[in-house]
Symmetry: D2
Subunit: 366 residues, 4 copies
């Protein structure tokens, strides 16, 4: 119910604004006995950290996490884990102009219309800075998954930047960590670099599509109807800033298939059912099949751009706006670790739910 | 938390199986004083009812709703409204084969793996019959919206069947109610009819894309982060059977745009802000702008088909399956009223939430 | 969040009015594979049923439960279980007077002030008839507990009627089922019969205190702070009609003790810790100790009495009211099975929660 | 659902341990535009602060609150408010003994049995230090109530210490702030001082009963069944450390009344209904009447005492324990501001709920 919380049993509430003193995540429901350290969480935060290359915002934030509760002698105790990240590089003076003008494509106008007050500095609560808190919480989820579902891995990467998609035939997972775009295709990485350089210089920005894949997910996670694994994944990804579309498996393309094309045929392998394809993205009826869980989401281009756009002021006057400040030309880049974090949180949550609601009563095959 | 419930203040819990005695919706949180009648709800149910033409399942269900509680002298009292629909045409004998075999692309196998027991008759809980309960609940939501947001309209229609999209230039809202596909393009309606005839005769099925548009939505509905209006819409649509993708506004296509293309410019009209375009689908930062709220979702093809597919049995033997019984060649058709119902429920919920959390403190422009 | 729902993982939503067509409970989260039959639930309903002796309302209701969903071949499937009880003996004509006048001590006035509409027939939603739905849901909870916590027993009984308490030295559990008051003291049963006869004849009513004890509760159920086992028990009991006080263990009397009197000393038995006393009522820090869980609650006297009381009408005129109709002289009697049902629901819920959140990581002693 | 959260629309999640770096409250759902300052919250924290006189623990904590989010230029923005209090006086060395031994009457043993790990320093999460976070959150709730329900006041006080009750005939609200016990009876304050001195010297502790009264509560707050105002108040009070009983209005004593004694007769005053008495404690059917809302709760004596008690160790050996360290001889004293804070949070929550679910549809009288 809390509108800043997600999850059922593993619940994450994020708090904080772009230019306030700090932001963070209140993580409730982590099982006891999980190793939770600042170092481990920092590892994930560092992957999302701004200012690491010329393709992300030049804001310099250490993004150092402090664990304030819920951990004793390096292990979670079962009580709420408070993760705090101090803001250190708030240059509020950059943002004076947007106190009065609404940036087109940005939440400025709707926050104002909804609340009648808004922290306009750096986008306040609607800033992508909030996603640092999600990544920190995702670090806790990963630590718990490492214990409860050993072998489960989560990998995110970009599959499209602007109109440019990857070549699936050149897919190389090892490439993902080697380029600033988390793209599993060396040729695309090179092409995108020059494409984005051009955009950045022209003061424009561009959208992206991110894919997140979880392997080693046990069959049986999820639940019918409103607690479907894909329902929760769709909500989790759509909750990320600037996301406008979410797909499971074949996604929107499933509409174009016939039933005979779409049905993933089943045969029997040594360890259980084996599927001839994965149009379903690892989920049937809202419940995991044991195949890879595959989610994609589209991030729209950053709305804070140097190109002048028509807009209005709080008092209703028509004007133009150019957003200076330090912005990501492709905010989709930093959405990759965020998508991974959301996947980790949702999977852990459903793993705990399944354990609570069903225990070991699942059906065996063969 | 309840996994068969959605909504925050307007909460709908659906219950019931395809071949049980009845199914329904427990609707909690309808404001008092709303006219709620069986006739009004029946109107919406009749639009979804199976067996109305040769393109939907030939199962004949009256789908008659009974109001069991929460209404006094024709008005809601503020207490839970129980809506029950008796099942009348359960031919369980048709389903003997699937007690042992899992249909590829269907929830048969995952329900078994999760629960160790499943009501295989007609798909049990995973049957699209569950959506009748949603449509009934949506009827209540529409009645409340008619009072609380007069002028708000919700319209769903198909924009793609299999690989065939509509021609947006021929868009004619009046066409929607004139053809069995709810398609706003007379030419497409004709083409799709012969296309689907062919598929149906070959024992195959096909997917679809549905678009749902809400006009007259007040600005300011929604909430930041995990209670975003688009987050809840994505979850609502993804929770519908067979949905594999959800889009808001430009959706996945937003990835291909630049920031200058994507930003909907704002000018000042007589009644407030006016937007030059609606790439955002009426939602910025999770909060409604006052523009049309536009959602699309893709429905995969029905997995119950006459084409033989390879599969396994509960005991792990490899086999083939052909699904007889009465199935929709394009289940997307009946998803149109369902998508409308979900839109109604989500909008009412956020309207109540906004009233509770913010009241009249929203900001004025001009 | 839903205001007609309780529970975290085992969630019960009740619906229905005293004089509507039916009432019931939507039970979500029952584990799969639990034997759930109408006969078993009926057993518990029959204990609460009105009209069984001269000390409860003479309304004659069969209180027959129908299972509409969630059960297949006698076993729960993990999907929502809908339990419906038809109302059959609604004599609405008895209630004409209270459409305009508010009964002192009754919810008539507050429902009106809150909602601006109320189903005044028989108290509508505020009638004790709602508790039938709780007892039905409790029957499901008991069936699940029988599997998941064999040996756990739940026993409710009256310990006080009006000013008359039981003699704890004469406590005899076998007496509970032998008298109409569920009182474990044969002498009290006799005394109370004549006391209540007198009250009934004078047109008055009286309050009561009920105690519910659960034995065989595993140590470790509950959770810190807002999910404490005692917090949820207090809410569960306070939600029962007419309850004005709830106690755990020594309850209000704990205030009068010193720390050295109150601390239940611990020694080591063969099967684990053994306590020298049970002032705590089986709960420390919100978590069960393994001792008996002991809850008491006070039920105020029925407000529908034949004694004339001063009141006002909807239009604000001062008047008097005498409530005819069929009412319990001591509604506390029928609260005994209701208290047991709530205990069963809360314990099952916390058992599932513990399994989900902690699993087998609990600490051993010795 | 989150077990460290309470509230529906105004939601408070507390976090932190007695001897960790900090503790706090994540407050979600405060309406926008409410003045929220560290000074105002500090005012309430100072009332609860330990070490202010010889009757509370000698631990010296500044209990200084930092607002980390959700407030802009002194006003709430509608986004989560993070309130952090650093721990400064953690003398962990005092607590070595209880790492192995379980204090009778304390959560030591149940936390261990539940989680298999516990932060034993100062009681960790089960310490009464957690209540500082509640008081801070209550400060936010009071600020919102001051705007939304002007004239609403909340007053808590002790009515019993150990076996000694106050004399209601000497009740003087002005006395409450004049003595260290928050007791509205000057004579009792004097007597209790010497009584508690004696106990403290003997190394023992004692329980207490606290009463909290809210005046000026609008009629119509609350909701039927599981969202009753009294249900939520009972849960809120029972969630406070060491509370064993909760009463609304006449509470447990209501059991001894007859219906004619208990029914608060209604007449018509200038501003609406007027009641001849308040046995109901301002709540009928779970909904406020407009009378004073009256809640009482019993706090058991502190279990950390100097008197030796029999207990066992983690390895199951029988032993004795004496708890040194700095403890409250009557923890009920500091529970007064905590009870007030819980009342404030629950009332604000229900005020927002009512506004969202019902709006202005409530019924008028006269």
């Amino acid at each position: 119910m809390s509108l800043n919380t997600f999850g059922h049993l593993f619940r994450v509430t994020t708090w904080g604004e772009s230019h306030g003193p700090a932001l963070g995540a209140t993580v409730d429901g982590c099982p006891p006995g999980v190793p939770v350290t600042e170092e481990a969480i920092q590892h994930w935060l560092d992957r999302r950290k701004p200012g690491q290359n010329k393709y992300t915002t030049q804001r310099r934030e250490a993004d150092e996490v402090e664990i304030l509760s819920g951990v004793f002698e390096g292990l979670s105790t079962g009580t709420p884990i408070q993760l705090m990240i101090r803001n250190t590089d708030q240059r509020s003076k950059d943002y004076g102009d947007i106190a009065e003008k609404f940036r087109p494509g940005h939440a400025d106008i709707t926050y104002w219309q909804k609340y009648g007050i808004r922290d306009y500095r750096g986008g306040g609560r609607s800033s992508a800075r909030e996603t640092a808190a999600r990544v920190a919480a995702g670090g806790v989820a990963r630590a718990a998954l490492a214990q409860l579902a050993p072998g489960l891995t989560i990998t995110g990467y970009m599959v499209q930047m602007g109109p440019n998609g990857i070549n699936r035939e050149l897919f190389d997972a090892a490439e993902i960590e080697r380029n600033p775009f988390w793209v599993p295709d060396a040729q695309a990485a090179e092409d995108w670099a020059s494409y984005l350089d051009g955009l950045r210089k022209s003061g424009d920005s561009v959208g992206a599509v991110i894919e997140v894949v979880a392997s080693g997910v046990p069959a049986g996670l999820g639940a019918p109807i409103y607690g479907k694994l894909d329902t929760d994944l769709a909500a989790a990804m759509m909750s990320i800033n600037a996301v406008k579309g979410v797909e499971i498996g074949d996604g929107m393309a499933a509409a174009a298939l016939t039933g005979s094309q779409n049905a993933d045929e089943i045969s029997m392998g040594e360890a259980g059912p084996v599927y001839g394809s994965n149009h379903a993205g690892g989920i049937l009826g809202g419940i995991s099949t044991g195949q890879d869980v595959v989610v994609r989401f589209a991030v729209k281009p950053t709305s804070s751009i140097l190109t002048p756009r028509k807009t209005i002021t709080k008092s209703g006057e028509e004007t133009e706006i150019v957003t200076k400040g330090r912005h990501d030309p492709c905010v989709g880049i930093r959405a990759v670790p965020v998508g991974e974090a959301m996947m980790a949180c949702v999977l852990l949550d459903h793993l705990l739910l399944h354990r609570g609601q069903v225990g070991d009563r699942g059906g065996k095959i063969g």
